[in-house]
């Protein structure tokens, strides 16, 4: 039932492109020891993912500006590059050179540490995001559970910055953010658990593999429609996006826990929240929308064209389709999140907590129970 990690990785090496293996072979070719070439390899995918995350944020910020403008019948940024595409860069540069202000009565150490604690777990979570068969930093066995664990660190950073600012709005914002994260983490984890139950594995690679047997029709969204909605609502709440952006509700709390922040520290919060949005969208597309899978399996297309799936050209096309599909699905979800932000009103704090504890939690539990029974009754369709 459960393949051990050794055999899975062997299977992965024999099929599909493995850049790490080629890199190590090339390094051995010029006479570098395997140990040292591994050490040289390690930072490369990390750097690549970091760059991908930052570019993803820049694109998202631009989209946010443009879509919000369209939703309010404005034009939005226009002069910085074609269609204002360089506007996010200008924003970032402005924040980078701004003076770094630490309020006099604030707690300097915690004030500095807070934004770091918010950003680092979010970036670490990119460890488990696959863009293709072998295109992820590390196929750790605990996979998706690592993300759940890491995202639970974030509230500490928020509480820390809220407390250290020595400002009642900041403290209230931090407390709200922590309460919100804790209450929406539970339905989120239960929705993920239903998926894990179906794919018999916590690894993101296995979760995507299990969805790609029949293309579009085998995506988890058809088997887990309730789980999909729960996950999406909770992901929005975890990202503090607008129907649930109480921690930084402008009309009530100035800007919540980030009120006192300026310059690069504020930019860290900003970056963290957008990286988190992109990450959540990526995870929705991985868990529910087939990850890197094309709506029609590439194997079928290759067979239909009379090509072998192992041919180098087909492999390269397959890999590129994988990356494009992942990004396409992710940005469709990002678009949805932005549209939701600019068209929905904010919920009240009691409505937010009621929704989390009295509605989503029971529904998520029921969803888990139904998934378990369906798995027992129809093992062929729900992963026996």
């Amino acid at each position: 039932m459960v393949t051990s990690s050794v055999t899975t990785s062997q299977v992965l090496i024999t099929q599909g492109i493995d850049i790490e293996l080629s890199f190590n072979q090339a390094m051995e070719g010029i006479g570098i020891s395997p140990d040292f070439s591994h050490l040289l390899w390690l930072p490369l995918p990390m750097l690549l993912v970091l760059i991908a995350a930052v570019i993803g944020v820049l694109v998202t910020v631009w989209l946010e500006r443009k879509i919000s403008a369209a939703a309010q019948q404005r034009i939005g940024p226009e002069y910085a590059g074609a269609l204002g595409i360089l506007q996010p860069m200008a924003d970032g540069l402005k924040l980078l050179v701004k003076e770094d202000v630490i309020p006099k009565r604030a707690d300097g150490l915690l004030f500095t540490l807070g934004p770091v604690l918010v950003l680092v777990p979010v970036i670490l979570s990119w460890l488990i995001i696959p863009f293709g068969q072998n295109l992820l930093i590390s196929n750790v066995g605990i996979g998706i559970f690592l993300w759940i664990a890491l995202s639970s660190i974030q509230p500490i950073g928020l509480l820390m910055s809220g407390y250290a600012s020595n400002n009642k709005y900041s403290l209230l914002g931090g407390l709200r953010a922590a309460a919100q994260s804790i209450s929406y983490e539970i339905p989120l984890a239960l929705a993920v658990l239903a998926i894990v139950m179906m794919s018999n594995s916590l690894s993101t690679i296995d979760i995507v593999e299990q969805q790609n047997s029949a293309g579009l029709l085998s995506w988890n969204v058809w088997r887990q429609p309730i789980g999909f909605l729960i996950f999406w609502i909770c992901a929005l709440a975890e990202c503090e996006r607008l129907p649930f952006d109480l921690p930084e509700a402008e009309e009530e709390l100035v800007a919540g826990y980030q009120t006192e922040y300026a310059g690069m520290k504020f930019a860290l919060f900003y970056l963290g929240s957008y990286i988190n949005l992109v990450l959540s969208s990526l995870l929705v597309s991985i868990l529910y929308l087939g990850g890197w899978g094309f709506p029609i399996p590439v194997e079928w297309l290759a067979n239909w064209l009379g090509q072998s799936i192992d041919a180098p050209l087909i492999q390269i096309i397959n890999g590129s389709i994988g990356i494009v599909m992942t990004i396409l699905k992710t940005y469709l979800l990002v678009f949805l999140a932005i549209l939701l932000r600019w068209t929905t009103p904010r919920v009240r704090i009691d409505q937010l907590l009621d929704l989390g504890w009295k509605f989503l939690l029971p529904i998520a539990l029921a969803n888990l129970l139904i998934t378990a029974s369906l798995k027992l009754v129809f093992p062929f369709a729900f992963g026996g």
Binding site: V2, S4, S5, D35, F36, L39, L110, V140, G141, I142, F145, L146, I148, A149, L150, S152, I153, P155, I156, L159, M160, G162, Y163, L171, G174, L175, A178, A179, I182, E185, L202, D350
Partner: protein
Amino acid sequence: MNIATTTEFICFISLSAIVIVGSLGVILLANIVYSAFLLGGVFMAVAGLYLLLNASFVAAAQVLVYVGAVNVLILFAIMLVNKKEELKPVKGLQIRRVLSAGVCAGLLALLFQVDLTTPWALPGPEAIGEEAIVRIGEHLFTDYLLPFELASVLLLMAMIGAIVLARRDVLVSDVVTGESVDQSLIEKTGAPFLIDKSSS
């Protein structure tokens, strides 16, 4: 010593240093908020130690439960209470400090004694790595089923107790003294917490 073992050794030393210094800070710092944040750091370092032992699931569970839940709740409690109060100086504080330090040192000496006299089987059992999740699940539902269920019953009891304590609006009289409770102080949903008494 190759690169991997050297890295592991450096990680072990720094994590242990964080655990020891951090726990000392938790106990000795006067500011309770610092203590709570440091406790989170200590929990994270312990998770790192689990990771070094190839127990990635236990490490992630440690982060999720201790850092994400326990520590956040401690911080919550501290920040919601956050009372600025002048505490009365305790009599004989110095003697008390010396005594408690002596007790702690004695316990430490006992631990060292146990550590040095126990014949440890080195090297320990082989780490099973990624397979651990499956094995933990099997154990929880076979030979450790009773402790597992008892733990969940205990948690359920704690939860019911918390709900009973938090639902103040059903109590007409005080449980301890038997006096009737001032109902205007009780928060009701939909009603403002602070009732304006100046008009009446």
